[in-house]
């Protein structure tokens, strides 16, 4: 067992630093499992390097733009290199929060009310004239998110109508399209899904932050947040949340692995989004859920690589 694994990490995304942390940790795990592995900090030489090195499989430890939006997956398909995690379609529709919400809605999956606006809609079509209608529809507070951005970068909670333009400008710094969403107050949950036929939901993690939402600052820092594994839910609620998460995984066309973020409000779960390339750092949620299920980090990495190699 010495298949050659290329660990793709870093790159140009705003989540470069986190990706490097995930990637280094994955590399160590692969080495411990006896794989021949090498890391690639993704740049314009990636394709040449992959062709030259001819790995048996690519481990995608990239986060954010180009790493989990279908770009790198599409290239790897073209090169004929199997890769970890969901395929092109699932990455495209999950990374674009607007597409993902549309698909969830079509599958009648409960998710906070939403609408989308773009830079062009303001500049070319006077969308500002419809903002009061947006506020009527979603209520206050509401949440503004860049459509295509991982982590929690650019996300703002708007309490007063007059703060909306500033929040929109902030979110539009990350992407030309934004998602406006009803603010649902409740308990933050995340469910990691792993495996195929059948996919399995790992123990639910409950996230308790002192801040208003799970932001970039607390997401990757030790000790800034409390986690409860399994989440403090009764059995029926936990079963409902897991089933719902598996439905989301399927609706968005995922395979192998994903992580679904939800809010539990007044006993009802609402789906926020799905991540196709969950973090693998010391403080990441997928490895935490796996550990709670008795799967050590190196075994988790091994599982993901095995699934890719089996394709």
């Amino acid at each position: 067992m010495n298949e050659k694994v290329a660990v793709l990490m870093g790159g140009r995304s705003l989540e470069r630093e986190v990706s490097l942390k995930s990637g280094h940790r994955v590399s160590e795990a692969l080495a411990a499992k006896g794989y021949e592995q090498f890391s690639l900090d993704v740049d314009e030489r990636m394709v040449d390097n992959l062709i030259a090195a001819a790995p048996d499989v690519a481990y995608i430890a990239l986060h954010g733009k180009y790493g989990e939006d279908g770009t790198v997956q599409g290239l790897l398909e073209l090169l004929g290199i199997p890769y970890t995690g969901p395929g092109v379609y699932a990455n495209i529709v999950s990374f674009d929060k607007v597409l993902a919400k549309e698909i969830l809605t079509r599958h009648s999956i409960p998710t906070p009310r939403w609408l989308t606006l773009s830079a062009a809609s303001f500049k070319e079509m006077g969308a500002a004239g419809a903002l009061d209608k947006a506020i009527d529809l979603l209520g206050l507070p509401l949440v503004v998110k860049p459509a295509g951005q991982g982590s929690a970068l650019g996300i703002k909670i708007v309490h007063e109508a007059e703060d909306l333009p500033k929040a929109l400008i902030g979110a539009l710094s990350y992407d030309d399209k934004v998602l406006l969403e009803q603010y649902v107050d409740g308990t933050e949950l995340t469910v990691s899904i792993i495996g195929n036929d059948p996919a399995e939901a790992l123990p639910i993690i409950e996230i308790v932050t002192k801040k208003e939402f799970f932001d970039f600052e607390s997401m990757y820092r030790m000790g800034a947040t409390d986690y409860f594994v399994p989440a403090r839910l009764d059995d029926a609620q936990a079963a409902e949340v897991k089933e719902l998460s598996l439905n989301v995984h399927e609706a968005l066309g995922c395979r192998d692995v994903s992580r679904v973020d939800l809010i539990m409000s007044e006993g009802k779960p609402y789906v926020l989004e799905l991540n196709t390339s969950p973090g693998m750092t010391e403080t990441s949620l997928l490895p935490m859920a796996a550990a709670a299920h008795g799967i050590a980090f190196a075994d988790l990495v091994d599982k993901l690589v095995r699934m890719a190699l089996a394709r």
């Binding site: 140009r12 995304s13 705003l14 470069r16 630093e17 986190v18 490097l20 740049d43 830079a119 303001f122 500049k123 006077g126 969308a127 500002a128 004239g129 903002l131 009061d132 506020i135 009527d136 951005q149 970068l153 650019g154 007063e160 109508a161 007059e162 909306l164 333009p165 500033k166 929109l168 400008i169 902030g170 979110a171 539009l172 710094s173 990350y174 993690i205 970039f216 600052e217 990757y220 820092r221 030790m222 000790g223 800034a224 409390d226 986690y227 409860f228 594994v229 403090r232 010391e282 403080t283 935490m288 709670a292």
Partner: protein, 418 residues
Amino acid sequence: MPRYQLDKWTDLYANRASLLKSSAIRDLLSVTEREDIISLAGGNPYTKEFKMTKIVAAATETMLSHGNAALQYGASEGQTGLKQHICRLMAGENIKVDKEDFIITGGSQQGLDILGKVFIEPGDVILVEAPSYLGALNAFAGYEPKVISIPLDELGLVVSELEERLKELASAGVRPKFLYTVPNFHNPAGVTMSLDRRRRLIELSQQHKLLLIEDNPYGRLRFEGERLPSLRELDENVIYLSTFSKILSPGLRLAWLVAPHPILEKIIFAKQAADLCSPSFTQRVVDEFFNQNDLEEYIAQLVNTYRRRRDAMLEALDEYFPDEAEWTSPEGGFFVWVRLPEFIDTTEMLADAISQKVAFIPGRAFFADGRGANFMRLAFCFPSEEEIHEGVRRLSDVVKDQITLYHSVAVNLKLKSE
């Protein structure tokens, strides 16, 4: 219910460990290490014009003549030869010190950390400028002070505001431990404290028995205008820090800290506890470097380089930046501080800038209290004049785009709150 511990040593950490953290902004800037991005972010001195053979010669001579001493522990206060050279450098700035009046530290950063250790109890009030040098805020934060920020303007620290705060604190029975200030070519604001304000600050400090910490890393890098007396020159009770980091090399990690003798004694004990002594090797190499060379010529060359870069940045800002933006015109140092309209959050704007392949440091990083969202720091020290011009041009497009977008979003707004 199990509370999951990400880190099995969580229960062992001191409270202050949670205060020590890397920032999200630092993570974002990681992407700017990429070569195709013009970085106006880092305050790295330009070392490429330095004649490396001069350091080679000094290092060779050091090892051949004093090799054993260079490999040994040295005095905690610092190596005598180097200290004599520093006395001469200081005399050039009209500060008369003997080698017993200061110690050598591992960069000024170590000096700041030691000052925090010697003076700050958790909850003590310290005064800083708003904005302030990020590294000082971090160094002090570990000692858990209550930080009060005093605003800056074009003429440096607003001393009248300081006076108000000192009165309030005095009437509440609180004596602040010290005021930390960078009077010359401020990081990040680029401004220099006026002579009037320097005098007034000294008066206030005497009146309120306020200890002043003067950090002067950039003082020698004046491009124009008249040299102003340092606070230490005006009053021997001022603690004064300076460094070789900007005029020679930050890689050497050599700086010095001048303090009144009773304070210096405590500082030496803290220095001993921290690292016994600064590296004998680098101290002796720099000592030998001064025996063989005159640093003044190199400083003059640096001043020329930085002046041209400052000019390039100010010209580009004039040429490209919209009327809604304002910026400082530094007479020295490394930085221009830019104020954008209030509706722009430069932390978010950085994402847009990075995608346009230019980077800066968002203003919020330099405030202890979360303000400064519409400011940014542009450094002209490291990139070439051409890169500065192009970088500012790219950045101006990002800023203009944000302004246009804002007006298209906010104009004609018929919101419920109205």
